[in-house]
């Protein structure tokens, strides 16, 4: 029996962080307070684009209770930071580029005094013209945000001969798609406590996702070596990719204030500050042009995408690289030309968010594949099975897929679960009533981990104590997704112990190796693999001690259920605790360090091809909806989510990812939109920024498909992002099935579903503005 292969792997073990969270004992960033702490606040920009002529802080400095007022001039080291392009200011010094830019920081005895001081800071601006539309920002006369060119990334994929591909086509179909800014909506807004440390450095504890990159920037800003900047992760109340640069800025600012004042400084964003300053998911404008044969096969895909990078580069170069790699979807096509152009604007900067460049393109791809299905008279499942990748397929980037390509397996399993094809046919020809039903499908393939983005390696430590209890720590962080539990389960499986013996230490940059960022759904595969290796190191020491202890050969010994056993008879020879004590007595190391570096990948940026990712995962979502054709209201009534994730280390955690991913995807498809008008954000709290509630989430049937992959620990791959990247297109396709009207721009809110376009109040009160018409071009070469 497959289930009996492992004791701990695949089991619904309790999360290691559960007790603290359900009893309220877990300490989130804002729960950390120390005596004499000061409160830090940030003065943010008055205009989305302006030159800073003068900042006068003298009045603020004189306010009783204020201990420091700092500007960029007070930063001893680097005034800017950035993972790829170093151009994001910790505090703006030349210009403000979006409304969330900080200009000055205050530390005061109370929050109220700090806020009062902000109002006393006088800034003289020279207001500059604003550019907020990426396609306007690339015009020669557009206002420039940095330097003299707003385009800062242009990724390409080139395969075959695009002209030839279109010549071979019977139909050429062109469509334009648009997506919106969305907010990560982590429950816990940004918060940290920064304290001056004994050695002249600084110690920061807080709600930070990617501790090592934040540490690099703090060290550079303060002119400190990395070993004098310690960042400890508090229990995180969510991140979804969102607590990277915005936290880096907060870390740098609080650290500056702490060093200047010699006192601990607490900084906490209100929700409004958080939404104003934090980065968002990139809005994309996508032009898709596909050539197809009358049998539904695809001869050419020409794709041009404009991504709004906002005011700073942030993760855009990486986010849009994933988009360029995955822009064609998991479909065979010999001739591909994809361009993704990322531009600066005066909007909120955009960066990492669960999905990382895939939710946008998947919306376009999965809409296109449905459009071509209809054109050639096939159903949505048939067209995907016809064109979908199989083992050995060559992707758009020229990569041969050598692993188990389970696209068709997940498609068929999901479709069978909900009787997709029959429902689709039935709904297509339903009678005319105000409430209509529809069903829609979407699938995807997704590169696992960072791929050719950069160095991909991680380390985990497994330390057995003399009483047989175990401490696990890692450079991979937990923000609520359950990485800790996955790593502990892997260590427990290898060591033959139960989970109650293990404690996970929150990540501390000074105690664990830099393992890169915890992004790209790489926690389990990278941190977990490293945990496996670390545990195996300890195990091998324990086993050799066990052999000495018992006189048995290592081969006949095993560790099981907290005991050393005779493998053949099952006889318990010693407890794990006794074994650990013996090991210590003999002076043998019980500390295991595991390091995992991903298999190689490659990328040729100039010519746009390469082995982008070392393996991929496959998923399918199906949404069943009710559309009120008189109001535009869409209710999702049923949902199927099927994903091949290699192996589920913890089924409950995996199901949590399935459900949460669908809920977030539903918000993306139907409700959420962070609107920015002329550089001014419109929604700064959850009264107006609409997340789905429990009553909007349908019954979700999760199908876990497990095809073990050699690249991951116990065959495990990724699940966090895949679950979030195809819910929206499944819903949009379902709306089409119900109404016969296609949504080309997200979210499919009341107005778009009813009228086919969004309504915006702009300019004079009373004036009506329609968005530009959609691009729908079809040419038929069959006479």
């Amino acid at each position: 029996m497959e289930q009996d292969k492992y004791k701990i792997i695949g089991k619904p073990e309790k999360r290691v962080d559960v007790l603290g969270k359900v009893t309220g004992k877990a300490k989130f960033a804002d729960d950390y307070n120390v005596k004499h702490q000061l409160y830090g606040k940030v003065l943010r920009a008055k205009y989305p684009h302006a030159r800073i002529l003068k900042i006068d802080t003298s009045k603020a400095k004189n306010l009783p209770g204020v201990e420091a007022v700092l500007t960029a001039d007070d930063i001893p080291g680097s005034k800017v930071f950035g993972i790829v392009v170093q151009n994001q200011s910790i505090l703006a010094f030349d210009k403000v580029r979006y409304l969330g830019d900080g200009l000055a920081i205050v530390a005061a005895k109370t929050k109220e005094i700090a806020e009062e001081a902000l109002e006393l800071i006088e800034v003289e601006y020279e207001v500059l013209p604003v550019v907020t539309d990426p396609e306007e920002a690339i015009m020669p006369d557009a206002p420039k945000i940095h330097g003299d060119n707003n385009i800062f990334v242009h990724h390409k994929v080139r395969k075959g001969d695009i002209e030839k591909g279109f010549q071979e086509a019977d139909y050429i179909i062109e469509r334009k798609f648009k997506t919106q800014f969305i907010e990560h909506s982590y429950l816990e807004p940004e918060a940290i406590l920064a304290e001056p440390a004994e050695h002249g450095g600084v110690r920061i504890i807080g709600s930070v996702q990617n501790l090592f990159s934040s540490r690099r920037s703090v060290a550079a800003a303060l002119n400190l070596p990395l070993n004098k900047v310690q960042i400890i992760q508090s229990t995180l109340g969510g991140s979804f990719g969102g607590k990277d640069e915005v936290m880096t800025a907060m870390c740098c600012r609080a650290a500056l204030l702490a060093i200047k004042t010699g006192k601990p400084v607490k900084m906490v964003n209100t929700r409004e500050e958080s939404m104003l300053e934090s980065y968002k998911r990139h809005p994309y404008t996508m032009y898709y042009k596909w050539g197809i044969k009358s049998d539904g096969s695809i001869t050419a895909m020409e794709i041009k995408i404009y991504a709004d990078g906002g005011a700073y580069a942030s993760m855009s170069p990486y986010v849009t690289w994933r988009s360029v790699v995955q822009a064609t979807g998991p479909y065979y096509c010999e001739n591909v030309k994809t361009d993704v152009i990322t531009v600066y604007t005066n909007n909120n900067y955009t960066g990492a968010m669960r999905g990382f460049g895939s939710p946008q393109v998947n919306f376009a791809i999965e809409s296109m594949i449905d459009i071509i299905a209809e054109k050639v008279g096939k159903d949505p499942l048939e067209i995907r099975l016809q064109n979908g990748f199989e083992k050995g397929a060559i992707t758009a980037t020229g990569q041969k897929l050598e692993h188990n390509v389970s696209l068709k397996e997940v498609l068929l399993k999901a479709a069978k679960e909900i009787d997709f094809q029959n429902k689709w046919r039935e709904y297509k020809s339903q009678s005319d009533a105000p409430i209509k039903r529809g069903i829609g499908i979407a699938c995807s393939y997704r590169g696992v981990s960072l791929g050719a983005e950069g160095t991909d390696a991680a380390g985990t430590i497994v330390s057995v104590q003399t009483d047989g209890s175990v401490i696990v720590s890692s450079g991979i962080t937990d923000m609520g997704q359950g990485a800790q539990t996955q790593m502990c389960q892997i260590a427990a499986e290898v060591l033959g112990i139960t989970m109650d013996r293990i404690v996970f230490l929150n990540t501390n940059t000074s105690r664990v190796p830099d393992s890169g960022p915890t992004v790209a759904s790489r926690g389990t595969i990278m941190g977990g693999y490293a945990a496996k290796r670390a545990a195996e190191t300890v195990r091998s020491t324990l086993m050799s001690v066990a052999s000495e202890m018992t006189g048995y050969d290592v081969e006949v010994l095993d560790l099981k259920d907290n005991y050393l056993i005779d493998k053949d008879s099952g006889e318990r020879l010693a407890s794990f605790s006794e074994l650990a004590a013996q090991c210590f007595k003999k002076g043998r190391p019980m500390f295991g360090f595991g390091w995992y570096k991903s298999p190689p990948t490659s990328w040729h940026e100039e010519n746009g091809y390469g082995n982008a990712y070392f393996t991929f995962v496959y998923g399918t979502n199906i949404a069943e909806v009710e559309v009120d054709t008189e109001t535009g209201k869409v209710n999702v009534i049923n949902f199927v989510s099927a994903h091949d994730l290699g192996r589920a280390i913890n089924k409950q955690t995996v199901l949590g990812q399935f459900y949460g991913g669908v809920a977030m995807g539903l918000g993306y498809g139907l409700l959420e939109e962070f609107e920015i008008e002329d550089g001014i954000p419109k929604q700064l709290n959850f009264d107006e920024y609409l997340l789905p509630t429990a009553k909007d989430i349908p019954n979700i049937k999760a199908i876990i498909v497990e095809n073990e992959d050699a690249a991951g620990p116990f065959g495990a791959k990724s699940i966090g992002e895949p679950t979030n990247e195809i819910a929206a297109p499944a819903i949009i396709n379902a709306i089409y099935n119900a109404t016969g009207k296609r949504i080309y721009e997200l979210p499919a809110n009341l107005e778009r579903v009813l009228l086919g376009h969004k309504l915006t109040r702009k300019g004079e009160r009373g004036s009506v503005q329609k968005e530009k018409e959609e691009l729908i071009i079809e040419s038929c070469k069959i006479k």
């Binding site: 008189e630 535009g632 209710n635 509630t693 009341l750 009813l754 009228l755 309504l759 004036s767 009506v768």
Partner: protein, 285 residues
């Protein structure tokens, strides 16, 4: 939040006295579901005094008397939708209050607050107007009554003076054979602000002819009104889809005559018509 003075009493007389001393600087706190959020937003006109009336028991309760129901203003939305009196004799108000905000908001928020805050999306107001509600306001030296549909000047603006407290809402019980409904259209299924709403009442005689019709749209007009032009079309007629469709179209037409064509009219015009038609259908089954 800026500092403010906080005053409270469990006696209406004392509350009225406090208000008479406070001038225009005072704000009344009932459930707080609007006021506290407003305070956090740092409004331009920031109240100097918050007068908490939530302890005043004489402003609580729902009472039936003859053919009238008196709803005291501190009745929470939860209290109203759980009230048997309301469910039996003013059903549409029960329906409306059950859909307001979230459980927490329904438990805190009061009908008096909903009226006095006068947001265009206030969900208790259309049903109350359909129930011909009259309200009483008291200050230390005066008692004034209004028909609820005469009380509003524009969204967030009423005819109440700063020293006045809403002390009573009085509605007519619906006749036994009348049917009523409230339809709310929001963007999501909970914690939702009305994009549009309709309160409707229909009464038919033994022959099935409509003898009473009341239609009050919400979040559609500058202030709430019964749409008499549409109601009149129904009187003396028998229910029918075409009739209801025509009444819905009339409501749209009247809405546009008040608001003119605005950025949102393209959406509201067909949708309010459809919601009115549906509400009337529901009241005639």
């Amino acid at each position: 939040m800026k500092p403010f003075e906080y005053k409270f009493s469990d006696k209406l007389d004392e509350i009225l006295h406090i208000l008479s001393q406070s001038g225009t600087d005072a704000k009344i706190l009932a459930g707080g579901t609007d006021l506290l959020i407003e305070l956090r937003r740092k409004p331009k006109v920031y109240p100097g005094v918050i007068v908490d009336i939530s302890f005043v028991n004489e402003l609580k309760g729902i009472f039936e008397d003859n053919n009238h129901i008196t709803i005291k203003p501190l009745s929470t939305h939860t209290k109203i939708f759980k009230s048997d009196i309301i469910r039996k004799k003013a059903y549409l108000l029960s329906e409306a209050t059950s859909q307001i905000g979230s459980l927490q908001i329904r438990n805190r928020g009061t009908v008096g607050g909903n009226i006095m805050n006068a947001a265009a999306c206030a969900d208790t107001v259309p049903p109350l107007i359909a129930l011909n509600a009259e309200i009483t306001l008291r200050s230390q030296n005066s008692v004034r009554s209004f028909k609820l549909n005469d009380f509003f000047i524009k969204p967030y603006k009423t005819k109440a003076n700063p020293d006045e407290v809403l002390t009573e809402i009085k509605i007519n019980c619906l006749p036994k054979d009348a049917k009523s409904t409230f339809i709310k259209l929001g963007r999501r299924n909970a914690l939702s602000i009305s994009r549009l709403s309709v309160a409707a009442v229909l009464q038919q005689d033994e022959d099935g002819k409509i003898i009473d019709a009341r239609i009050v749209p919400g979040a559609a007009f500058p202030t709430w009104q019964r749409v008499v032009e549409a109601e009149q079309m129904l009187i003396g007629e028998k229910p029918g889809i075409e009739l209801f469709r025509a009444a819905g179209a009339k409501v749209s037409e009247v809405m546009i005559s008040y608001t003119g064509r605005r950025w949102s009219t393209e959406y509201k015009e067909p949708v309010i018509a459809a919601l009115v038609r549906r509400a009337l259908e529901r009241c005639s089954i």
